[in-house]
């Protein structure tokens, strides 16, 4: 047993009063609302904020709606498009930033910049760059791709912006992981004449894999609940809306625009389950590739 100090034992009132604000806040703001949302997903919203229990109706309706399945696919597809490429590019940036180069802090600051700019402002300029008639990409290349209104392209366009936004953040996390790798490993490899590429695959990659796993999980969770970027890039009159609409976007429209709060609650519960399943799969899969030995 760990022996607790005299101060620690000196009164549970003191301890409880220190956590009281946080716990009361969490209960009111999060814990009770969590159960309310679960209850609401089994109810129908009536006039004057009343709810009536309706069993699985919301879920049955949801599973029969193509728009819902499309939104689920869009969220998953968005993950497929952004997570592997985004994390891979971040890893490259992190490895390059770890080299003995001049102006390291300047590069780091530049890559990190999108993180401190509100997604609303970021989306605005990308919408302009990807504008069909006058956007710089189409006018410069003489193309006429409908980047944001073609239902086959729109989510790819959003993914480009998402990757661009997240690269610096992920690279900084990975860089911290890489900097923790002992220099002696590389020195030994240099003596043995191993090439830089070999060193990357045999030293850097296994040693940074725990950090890589954290970044991957974080990015997956964030991508599955993407909302603000797509909301700003694809407005509600956009003909390609259903091809870009993520689960959280659908949730926002159902709950706060259409007012179907019961149905919307079912959507958010579904999203939480989806995130949970993906996370569990990742945690099982990690045993195959994450190296926790130092």
């Amino acid at each position: 047993m760990h022996k607790k100090s005299k101060l620690a034992r000196s009164g549970s009132v003191w301890g409880m009063s220190m956590v009281a604000p946080t716990i009361i806040g969490l209960l009111i703001l999060n814990i009770i609302p969590f159960f309310q949302t679960i209850y609401m997903s089994f109810s129908q919203s009536k006039a004057f904020g009343a709810y009536e229990f309706c069993g699985l109706d919301n879920y049955i309706e949801m599973f029969q709606t193509p728009e819902f399945w499309k939104a689920t696919w869009n969220s998953v597809y968005f993950c497929i498009l952004t997570v592997p490429i985004g994390v891979f590019l971040s890893l490259i940036v992190a490895v390059l930033l770890n080299a003995k180069i001049k102006g390291k802090t300047v590069f780091r600051a530049i890559y990190f910049l999108p993180m401190v700019v509100a997604p609303a402002a970021v989306a605005m300029v990308w919408k302009w760059i990807f504008n069909t008639e006058y956007g710089i990409i189409n006018t410069l290349l003489g193309m006429n791709v409908r980047w944001l209104t073609d239902s086959n392209v729109v989510l790819v366009t959003c993914s480009v912006v998402a990757i661009w936004s997240a690269i610096g953040y992920d690279a900084v996390l990975l860089l911290a992981g890489i900097q923790n790798i002992s220099k002696s490993l590389y020195e030994a490899a240099d003596l043995d004449g191993a090439s830089k590429i070999k060193q990357f695959f045999h030293i850097t990659l296994p040693m940074v894999s725990p950090t890589l796993f954290v970044v991957l999980i974080m990015r997956l969770m964030a991508s599955l609940k993407v909302y603000d970027l797509i909301y700003m890039m694809v407005d509600q009159n956009n003909p390609a809306l259903t091809s870009a609409q993520s689960l959280m976007y659908l949730f926002y429209r159902e709950s706060f625009i259409a007012g179907n709060k019961g149905y919307a609650s079912a959507i958010v519960i579904w999203t939480v389950l989806l995130i949970g399943i993906v996370t569990i799969v990742q945690f099982i899969g990690q045993k195959k590739w994450v190296n926790y030995e130092v």
Partner: protein, 278 residues
């Protein structure tokens, strides 16, 4: 052989710089384009082939953006939102983080499980009941409404608990024996030692409060009570084709944060890396 190796090394270095610079250009280009467009006339912005620089550097678009959105209110609302969220997160999380790390009280583990549970659930799952509470209180369209879901921070509690776990028990013990009150051992002895974690939490909270979009859009529908992000999204609907005005508006919305970032670049990056690497 040696010569060969050094040319090889030079090549690697050249390639490293080339990739990093190409990447940097990609990162900066949208901001540069935003800046240049915000000074152009609408006709200039739509010229084909594209015109890179505006003929005249005038501020008409900024004037128009300032006219169509109550920018001073948006700045003030965003500032107050950030300020209150940061104060709440730092004060309450320091207290709770300290208690979870260093004190004993009944049901400690159960209560801490609540903290972990909140951290793992996406914020959208709380949003409808939170909005209803706010509406029942008649508090929509207020600064309080903006701050409301961030009054306490589960993540902050978790994060600062880590900081307090890293401090030795003897420290508080010694101060207590020397005649400090319990409150003083906390505020005068332990709290100052978590300064760098507090700074990281403050920066993290500020950046996310500023970026948040869904909650501000829902709770404050009055344009005068919106945040910069939410206000910007309404400008989006107003000027669908006048991109110079949209760019001027976006630039106005991002400038305060970017200036802070450029001044405290190191603290920003390290703070966010520290909170992210949990």
């Amino acid at each position: 052989m040696k010569n060969n190796l050094s040319t090889n090394r030079k090549m690697t270095m050249a390639l490293t710089y080339a990739v990093l610079i190409a990447g940097s250009i990609t990162m900066i280009f949208p901001f540069a384009w935003m800046f240049l467009t915000s000074f152009k006339t609408q006709a200039e912005s739509m010229a084909i082939p594209p015109q890179i620089f505006p003929a005249n550097w005038n501020f008409d678009n900024f004037a128009k953006a300032l006219e169509s959105l109550p920018f001073w209110n948006l700045y003030l609302n965003t500032l107050l939102l950030i300020l209150f969220r940061v104060i709440c997160a730092v004060v309450f999380s320091s207290m709770a983080g300290y208690a979870f790390a260093k004190l004993e009280f009944p049901c400690k583990n159960l209560v801490f499980a609540l903290v972990l549970m909140q951290m793992m659930l996406p914020s959208q799952i709380f949003i409808i009941p939170q909005y209803q509470m706010l509406a029942d209180m008649g508090m929509t369209n207020s600064i309080f409404a903006l701050v409301f879901p961030g009054l306490v921070s589960a993540f902050g509690t978790f994060f600062l608990r880590q900081a307090y776990l890293g401090l030795p028990d003897e420290l508080a013990e010694a101060a207590y024996l020397d005649g400090c009150t319990k409150w003083q051992t906390f505020t005068k002895v332990l709290l100052p030692l978590t300064k760098s974690s507090i700074a990281a939490l403050a920066i993290f909270t500020a950046v996310f409060a500023y970026a948040d979009l869904m909650w501000p859009l829902i709770c404050n529908t009055d344009l005068n009570m919106m945040t910069l992000s939410a206000g910007l999204s309404t400008l989006n609907g107003q000027y669908t084709t006048n991109f110079p005005v949209l760019m001027a508006g976006s630039l106005l919305a991002m400038i305060p944060m970017v200036i802070l970032y450029l001044l405290f670049q190191k603290q920003f990056i390290e703070g966010i890396a520290m909170t992210g690497g949990k």
